[in-house]
Structure formats: C-alpha cells, structure tokens
C-alpha cells in the first residue's frame, strides 16, 4: 500500500516538474494532457488507499527519510494515510484532476499555458503534503507550500495593471496575490507559535506523540496551543478578521478559484481543527469560541454576498460563509460533520466556480451580473450545472448540501446553543437567496449584455464533461452519509444526537427547507423577470455598508497599511540611511583605507621585501614572548 501512497503523493510533483520544463515556452497541448493524467493517477491511487482503509481499517505509514537531525532533535519526514487523510486525499485529487482537465479549456488561449499547469500541479502536491504528513512540521511545509502556490496562481496574470474598483483603492492580480500571502503570513506566525509550543513541551511534532501527551499537559498550555493553531487556521480559511484576501483572490484565473479558494486550500484550516480534535475536545472553551466565530463569519459573509454584483465575489463570500459553517460544526465537537460538509462543499463549490468560469468565457471576462441575464437560452448545460450547484449550496433535498448543512444545524441545536442554531438557520435562508439571485441574474430575465456587444457561447463539450462528475456528486453525495459516518467514526470521535433532537429531526428538515425555499422564492420574485434597480434601496446605508464590505478594506488600509508605510518611510530615511548605512559605509571605508595603506608596503622593491621578512621574525618572536608573559 505504501507504493500507492507514494504514487498519490509524487505524481503531482512529477507533473509539476514536467510542466515546469516547458514553462517559458509557447503553449504545448501535451503538457495540459499529461499533467491531467498524472493528477488523475494520483486520484486513482487515493481511491485505492481509501478502499483499502475501508476494507482493512489499517492505517498506512511511510517514512521518507530522516529530515532534520540536530542534537536530540530527530524529525523524520513521514506520511500517514488514516481515515481523515484518505477522505481529504480523495476530495483534493478528484477536484484537482477535474480542474486540471477543465483548465485545458479555460486557459486554452493563455500564453503561459504550460506555466499554469506547473503551478497548479505544484499546488496539488503541496496540498497532499499538508494532509498526508504525520507531523505538524510536515503539515507546516505543506501549509507554506500551498501558500506559495496560491500566491503564484492568484498573481498568475501579474502583468495586469492596478485599477480602482468597488471599495478597493487599487486592485490587480499581483496586489491580490501579495495581500493573500501577507495575510496568511500573519496567521502563520500563530501556527508556528503553536508548533513551537508543542515541540517545547512535548519534544516531538508527530501528531500521535502530541495527542498521547495531551493528558499530561496543563490546561492553560493546551488553551494557548489551541488558540495559536486556530489563528493559523483562521488565516488559511479566511476567517474574520483575516477574511479580506479571499474575495480579492478572485483576481486569479477561475479554475484556481475553484480548486484553491473554494474546494481545497481554504479548507486546510478546518482540516487542522479536525486533525487536532483530541486537543480541541479537551478545551471546549476554545471550541465554543471557534463555533461562535464560525457562525459570525457565516452570516457576515452571507450578508455581503446579498448585494455584491461581481459573479465570482458572490461565490467567494459564499465560500467564506460555508467555511463558517464548518468551523461551527468543528468547534462544537462534531468533527465528522465538519469533514462531511467540507467534502460535500468541495464538490458543489468547485462546480459552481467552474460554471462561473463558463459564464465568464461566454461574457468575455465581464463579471458584473447586472450586465448579464437571459443566458439560459445560450448556455443550457451550464445553466443546469450552476442550478444543481446552487440547489446543493442552498441545502435543498436531495442535494448534497442538504445533508451536511442540516446535520450542522442539528448539532447546533443538540448542543443547546440555540443562538448559533438560529443564526445558522437564518444564514441558510440568506444563502439560498443570494445563490439564486445569482442564478436568476445571470440566466434569467432580459438580455442586458447586448449593449456590450457580446455573443455568448456554450463551453466546449469536454469542459462540460469535466464538470459532470462534480454535478453528479453534488446530487448524490448526501446519500452516502451513513457509509461515511460508519467509516470515519472509526477514527474520529462519533457524535451522538440526544433523543430529544432525534425526535425533532422532521421538524428541522421542514424548518430548514422552509427558509431555504423562502430565500429562493424571494430571489425569484425579485430577479427572475429582469433587473429592476431601486435607487432608494441602493442608496440606503445598509446596502452601502454591505456593498462596501462593511468598509473593512478601507479600515485596514487606513489603520494598518498607511501608518505602516509612514513608519517604513521613517525607518528608511531616518534610521536606515542616517544610522545603519552610514555605519556600514564607514566600516567599509575604513577597511578600504587600511587596504590602501597596506598596499603601499607592496612597492615592488626587493630590499623592502627582504627587510619585511627579517621584521617578520622579530614580529613572531615578539608574539611568542607576549604569549609566554601573558600566560
């Protein structure tokens, strides 16, 4: 089984290196095909591992090599495939493989076609390192790796100029890439501190060693570690207040948004919390905080999605919101529920993004939904897919999102955290509303794009076929809930509903479905028959507040970026140039002057040379004398 592990892990690396060879050259179609095949290979190996794990319930280990051996520190670079990892691997590689195939279509006219596939495969490799590692250090490597790949991919069109848009004073792919990277670096510091604390107190970074040591550690320390790790998770999963980068990351190519900023990388934070469940189950206080923050982010992000006109940003906010759901579940101790929602969400969110990609191509990269409309006539298949994805996202039975989201709501109720339950329930309604607002604005109503002179067209068949598996999964994934629970609870702690909750199951289904359907209905009423803009609403304070993302980007700009720049200016002009540079230059000058002086001794005169030799003897005798006297 180890060979499957290696295949799953290294096929993407090979793929990335292969594409990298041709990175600087013109488009080579074969690169896209071969990388897609290699990622698919990784997927099949992952499935094989999952099946093996299902049948035998044996966890697969592999130690690659001794990585860092310094004194008593011996860090082995090892990988493990347990139940959580297997699920993550299958999800990651499946979505990756499909996105790779899809990218052949989406990037077909891009001049850096080969480079794109190199980055994309490198991301898959990093993500697999992240989920397959058996220690926090390996996780951190993968964590940074996906960060770098994310930076590369968001900034893929680095040559695009800065422009002013919406609330952002200036935005461009490279700006967004830097923002994402820097925000994540801030959060990574938290993760690093957590890792240091673990190593300091446990002496090992292996998950198993740490979890075994938890009973011996004092509570305060556990809380500190829990918080530190969660700060790392907040950055990667874009939780408030580090959420702004995710929406801006939509500057990257759409397949990237689908893979990285929806289905996989942003779920790394959730994965970390699930992975560290023995820790978080010991510190319910922190868990509760996570749940509350997740709940807040769920409604906070959903509210911004209500009014946004940018096709991709709406989906980005919905991702944020759904990540909030996952954290709420994980925080309340229902780890498998979080993982279940993570997997289901990956399928329908990737589908949603890829559909958006089709729309963008049809619309010549126009993203403003107010300029679309009536596209179902031209793109029936994409309409169908986006519809399925939106239904799943809204949590309508029998689509995948229904099962996972409904379970989260049950958990919130079961924990008697009725506030959380209510907010999440209400957010479900908002979710349904903005999802279908999007569908109706894009596909229904009057055809507003004619003014722009656009002639929409459906995507190529193979792109649609690449999306088809996701569509199927978005429909049926929920039905595997029982099997999933049976499989995953062999590893993760089971979560039992109380009898009281069990009795109310039907009530929940009805209530949840009710609000979701209400949301869809309102969206239908408002948007399905053409766009009617109401200036009064659009000028209202609330609308503006939401539209401008609560003015948080501006606040960050004013509160952090500006003062920091001024501080940097002072540090540069006053401190660096006046003090540091002057000192360094002074030393260099002194050295040079000394060199110049000693050069004069080298005057080419033989007699001088001979004198120097004689002097040398006196000199060393003197040193000898001094060393005797001093001793």
């Amino acid at each position: 089984m180890q060979s499957y592990l290696y295949i799953a892990l290294f096929a993407p690396l090979v793929s990335s290196l292969f594409a990298a060879i041709f990175a600087q050259q013109k488009k080579i179609q074969l690169v896209g095909i071969i990388t897609s095949i290699l990622i698919a290979l990784s997927f099949f190996a992952s499935v094989e591992l999952l099946v093996y794990l299902m049948q035998t319930n044996k966890i697969v280990h592999a130690t690659l090599f001794d990585w860092i051996v310094i004194g008593d520190m011996n860090v082995k670079f090892g990988f493990t495939v347990d139940h959580v990892t297997a699920v993550m691997m299958v999800v990651v590689t499946l979505v990756s493989a499909l996105v790779h195939i899809y990218s052949n279509y989406y990037m077909e006219h891009d001049k850096s076609f080969n480079r794109f596939f190199s980055y994309l495969s490198a991301f898959v490799f990093s993500m697999l390192v992240l989920v397959m590692s058996d220690s926090f250090l390996g996780l951190f490597i993968g964590w940074e790796g996906v960060g770098v790949c994310s930076w590369l991919l968001i900034g893929f069109w680095y040559y695009k100029k800065d422009e002013t848009r919406d609330v952002n004073p200036s935005i461009s792919p490279s700006w967004a890439a830097n923002e994402a990277f820097i925000m994540n670096r801030i959060a990574d510091l938290g993760l690093l501190i957590g890792i240091f604390l673990i190593f300091w107190n446990v002496g090992s970074l292996k998950y198993n060693d740490f979890f075994a040591a938890i009973p011996n550690l004092n509570h305060g320390l556990l809380v500190a570690i829990g918080i530190a790790l969660f700060i790392g998770a907040m950055g990667k999963s874009a939780q408030f207040p580090l959420h702004t980068w995710l929406a801006d990351a939509m500057e990257g190519p759409t397949p990237v948004s689908a893979l990285i900023h929806a289905a996989t990388m942003v779920t790394a934070g959730v994965y970390l919390v699930i992975r560290a469940n023995p820790l978080y189950s010991q510190i319910p206080g922190v868990g509760y905080f996570i749940a509350v923050l997740g709940t807040f982010v769920a409604i906070f992000a959903a509210s911004m999605a209500l009014v946004n006109r940018d096709l991709k940003r709406v989906i980005a906010y919905s991702t944020l919101s759904q990540l909030g759901y996952m954290f709420a579940a994980a925080g309340l101790g229902a780890y498998w529920v979080a993982l279940f929602h993570l997997a289901a969400h990956a399928f329908f969110k990737a589908l949603l993004f890829l559909s958006a990609g089709n729309v963008m191509h049809a619309m010549h990269d126009e993203l403003d939904m107010f300029k679309m409309g009536g596209l179902k006539k031209y793109m029936a298949k994409t309409y169908l897919m986006m519809g399925i994805a939106s239904l799943a996202l809204s949590g309508i039975y029998p689509f995948a999102g229904f099962f996972s989201k409904d379970t989260i709501l049950e958990v919130a109720f079961n924990e008697e955290t009725y506030g959380i339950w209510f907010v999440l329930w209400f957010t479900a309604g908002l979710t349904a509303f903005y999802s279908f607002r999007q569908v109706f604005l894009v596909f229904h109503g009057d055809e507003r794009f004619h003014e722009l002179g656009i002639h929409p067209h459906e995507a190529k068949p193979y792109a649609l076929w690449a999306m088809a598996p996701l569509a199927v999964l978005a429909v049926i994934a929920g039905f595997f809930k029982e099997e999933f629970v049976e499989f995953i609870t062999k590893f993760l702690p089971p979560y039992e509903m109380s009898e009281h909750t069990e009795h109310l199951v039907w009530f929940f289904i009805i209530v949840t479905m009710g609000i979701a359907l209400t949301g869809i209905f309102i969206a239908y009423k408002k948007y399905a028959n053409g766009l009617r803009r109401d200036p009064k609403v659009e000028n209202s304070f609330l609308y503006k507040l939401l539209f401008n993302q609560y003015y948080i980007p501006i606040f960050y700009e004013k509160a952090f970026a500006k003062p920091y720049k001024e501080l940097s200016d002072i540090a540069w002009k006053e401190i660096d140039q006046e003090i540091v540079d002057a000192t360094v230059d002074g030393i260099a000058k002194a050295v040079e002057v000394t060199g110049d002086v000693s050069r004069r001794a080298q005057n080419g005169n033989l007699s001088t040379y001979l004198k120097w030799m004689a002097f040398g003897l006196i000199f060393i005798s003197l040193i000898a004398l001094i060393s005797v006297v001093v001793k």
Binding site: D596, S598, R599, L606, L617, I620, I623, A624, S627
Partner: protein, 496 residues
C-alpha cells in the same frame, strides 16, 4: 675490512617508487628532446600526464606507514594525502599548456622536464621526516619553480622569478638555521629522534628558549613558502608575473607540500605542550587572512585579487595547523583538495581569456572592466566563473563551503571562539570582492563587442579542465562525506 652489508628488504625501494617514476619521466622527456628536437608540445603534455598518472598509482599502492631508504623515506597518511593533492593538482594543471595562442615557455621540452623535477622535489618534501631530505626536496622544487616562472619571458615574470629566488634563498637560510639549531640541541636531524630527545630534555632549565627559537626560524621558512604575512611579499609579484594557471598552481601545490612539513614539525612541539607556537601560528594566520583580504579589496585586476585571495585562504587554513586535532589536520587536506579545483578553475578562466598583449589596461591583463557584461556575450563562461567565485566566497552548496565549514567547526571544537569569529568575519569581507566580479559580469553594461574576447585562448583541453573543475565544485555535496571519512582515516593512521 668488513664489506658493507645492505639488506635490500630494509631499503624498501617501493617507497621510492612514486618519486622514481616522476624522475624517470623527466629524464625521458630530456632524452627524447636530445634524440629528436622540435617535437610538438602536445607530446610532452601527454608524457607528463602519463608519468603523473603512474606516480599516482604508485603512491596509492605503497603500504601505509612504511619506511624505506635507510628510514629516510616515510610514507604515512599525511604524506599520501600530500602526494595525492600534488599529483592531482599537477595533472589538472599541465593540460592548460595546450593553449590556442602560442606562449613562449610551453614550446620548450625543458619546461615539462623541469616541471616534473619540481614535483619530484615536492614528493620528497612530503615523504620524509628527515630535516635534510626535506630541505633537499624543498630546494630541488624551488630551483625548478623559479625558471618555470621566468620562462614566461616577459619583464614582470623575470622580475618575479628573481625576487622569488632571492627571497627564497633567504628563507632557505632560515630553514637551515632552524634545522641546525635542532641538530645542535638534539644531535639528530630526524624528527622522530628529535622528539624523543626533547621529551627527555624539556624539563632542563633554560631549554625552552633554543627549542622555541628553532621553531620560530622554521616558521619563517614555512611562512615564506605558504605566503603568510609578512613573508608573503613575493607572492603578488610572482602571481602577476607568472601566467595565470601557474599562479593558480603555485597557490596550491607548493603550499600543501609545505603544510605537510609544517604539520610534521609543529605537531612535535604540540606533543611537548609548547603552546606558544600555537599562539604564534594563530596570530600569523589571523594577520595574514585579515590584511590580505583588505588588500584584495582594493585591487583593480582580477588576477591580483585572486593572488591576495589565495594568500587569505592560506592564512585561513594555517589556523588548522595550530589546532592539534585530527579534525583540524583532516580539514587542511580537505580544504586544499577542494580549493585545488576551484582556484585552479578560476585561474584557468582567466587563462582562457588571455591574449599576448594587454588590451584593457596598461599594466594588467585582467582588470575588472574586461569582464563587464560578460553574461550577455559569453553566458556559459560567466556562469562558470560566477560558480568559482561563489565557491571561493564559501557559498553553499559549492565545494569550498564545506571546506570552510570543517575548518571553522574544528576551530570551534577546540574552543577558540574568537578565532572562529574573526575567520567568519573575514569570509564576509572576502565575499565582497568575489561578488564584485559577479556584479561586473552580470550587472554592468558590456564594453566588449563580442564573446571572442572571453574565449581568445580557448581550446578543448582548457575547456575540459575548466569543465571538470566546475563539475567537482558543483557536485561537492554528493562526495563530501566519503571524502572526509577517507581523509580522516588516513590522518588517524598517521603518528602525529
């Protein structure tokens, strides 16, 4: 009268084999020239390389720790290591004679014969603990080396040879005085006997002054040969006067030979716990490294810069002699083994661009300006040169990084933290002038029109040597561990 009975087993002539091979090669070249003059130099180059290869084989096949020729010859670990470095350096050097431009010295078969005589001398130097035999070897080698420089037949080279000769004579005087003092004290010229006598007499009152004095006299001679400041004065002139590969060669082979002698002589003192010698050597090494670094900073010519940098490397490595530890001794050979390839490669890069007349500067052949913008004109050459520079600066993963690492860790192991710090700071200064060349090559606008200037003297032989040197420099990470354990094994086998 009793006939003198000589036991041929005790002679153990096998120990002489490496030197005899070299000698035979040299004589063969002379004889060939007598029989048929005016043969092409490539024949002599081939013959020389062949001779050196056989000598190499002979060296590795001699049994370790054996003595021969009435106990005059001693083949131990350090002599084998010294011999190997000398032979490898020579094998790498001699193909550089096959240049495109015709240079005076290489057209004489005497050049190659003399070259082999010189190696013959070095081989004796490293393979004996008899002060007189060392002296004979040293002088044989030196007297052969002076004309090798002079044969370049330019005014600076003749001047350099004369200066080197004169100062060499004075250094020989110091060596003779030091040896005489030791003989006077102990009645022997063999280091192992001297050590025994010292062991008995060290506690006599007042003995320390002549004992230490002898060491200081020898140190002057050794310092001259490995060019420690202030006995280094000949070095920059000689390096400037000699052709570039010769300069690179002189910065390695004569020095490692003298290093072996230094190890033999001073380890004797360390065994007697005369620590003042340690301090003197370390002080000299620090002065050498620091001052030569500063002088290298202000040079305008790359070859002169490399000359001073070689001096600073010699100072750096001299510290390891004073450490009196296995790791310290091992790091000397490790360092020279790696330095050989990098430094000879760097000098060969200058050689490949050499013309008969200097075109960029009234005095210098290789001013920095010549290399400006080289990356645009001759990208491969620029990259290779940059690799050599980075290696000399001690940037990982290139070979000299490991050399520096071992030396500094050997220093730290002995607890000389200040010395280690000074050496590390010196490496930082050195990085400046190595990087200066890289800046010129990669960032400055080109003043030459085409790449030809860089390749003026190019031939396949030169390219092969440079390529091999670059290969060794780059791939060091793969062989460094086995190399170190091989050297350590030989050092441990030596009784020092």
């Amino acid at each position: 009268m009793m006939p003198i009975a000589i036991n041929y087993d005790a002679l153990n002539l096998v120990t002489l084999a490496p030197m005899l091979v070299t000698l035979a090669g040299a004589l063969l070249i002379l004889i060939i020239d007598l029989i048929k003059p005016n043969l092409d130099k490539s024949l002599y180059v081939t013959l020389t390389i062949l001779t050196l290869f056989i000598a190499f084989g002979a060296t590795t096949s001699v049994k370790l720790n054996s003595r021969g020729l009435f106990d005059l010859i001693l083949i131990d670990g350090i002599s084998v290591l010294g011999n190997l470095i000398i032979l490898i350096g020579s094998i790498l050097f001699i193909p550089l004679a096959l240049t495109k431009k015709r240079f005076h010295e290489f057209s004489y078969p005497e050049f190659f014969a003399m070259f082999l005589f010189m190696i013959f001398g070095f081989q004796f130097m490293v393979s004996s603990d008899n002060l007189i035999l060392i002296f004979v070897g040293l002088e044989t080698a030196s007297l052969a080396l002076y004309p090798l420089i002079a044969m370049h037949n330019t005014k600076p080279s003749i001047e350099a040879a004369v200066k080197y000769f004169t100062m060499g004579a004075m250094a020989a005087g110091f060596y003779a005085m030091g040896s005489a003092a030791l003989y006077g004290l102990t009645g022997s010229v063999e280091l192992h006997t001297i050590a025994q006598v010292f062991q008995e007499r060290i506690h006599e009152a007042g003995s320390i002054i002549p004992i230490a004095g002898a060491a200081l006299l020898l140190l002057v001679a050794i310092g001259f040969k490995v060019s420690l400041i202030p006995f280094h004065m000949w070095t920059p002139d000689a390096y400037e006067g000699a052709p570039a590969p010769m300069a690179g060669y002189m910065s390695i082979v004569p020095k490692i030979a003298m290093m072996v002698v230094a190890i033999r002589v001073f380890s004797l003192y360390f065994d007697l716990n005369i620590t003042l010698i340690k301090y003197v050597i370390i002080a000299l090494a620090i002065v050498t490294t620091t001052v030569s670094n500063m002088m290298a900073l202000v040079q305008e010519d790359v070859k002169r810069m490399l000359a001073y940098s070689s001096i600073s490397h010699a100072g750096f490595i001299m510290v390891a002699v004073a450490l009196d530890s296995t790791k310290g001794y091992a790091s000397i050979f490790m360092y020279y083994g790696l330095f050989l390839f990098t430094n000879l490669g760097a000098f060969a890069m200058l050689w490949i661009s050499r013309r008969k007349t200097a075109r960029f500067h009234e005095r210098y052949h290789h001013p920095y300006e010549k290399f400006a913008g080289m990356i645009h004109k001759a990208p491969i050459a620029a990259v290779i040169m940059a690799i050599f520079m980075l290696s000399l600066a001690g940037v990982p993963p290139f070979s000299l990084f490991w050399g520096k690492l071992y030396v500094i860790s050997a220093i730290v192991d002995k607890g000389y933290y200040t010395v280690a710090l000074i050496m590390a700071l010196n490496s930082a200064i050195a990085a400046y002038y190595y990087l200066k060349l890289i800046v010129y090559m990669f960032l400055k606008p080109a003043i030459v029109k085409d790449g030809q200037i860089v390749y003026a003297n190019r031939t396949l032989a030169l390219q092969t040597v440079i390529g091999f040197a670059a290969f060794v420099t780059i791939t060091s990470i793969f062989y460094i561990q086995p190399l170190m354990s091989y050297i350590t094994k030989l050092i441990v086998a030596t009784h020092i």
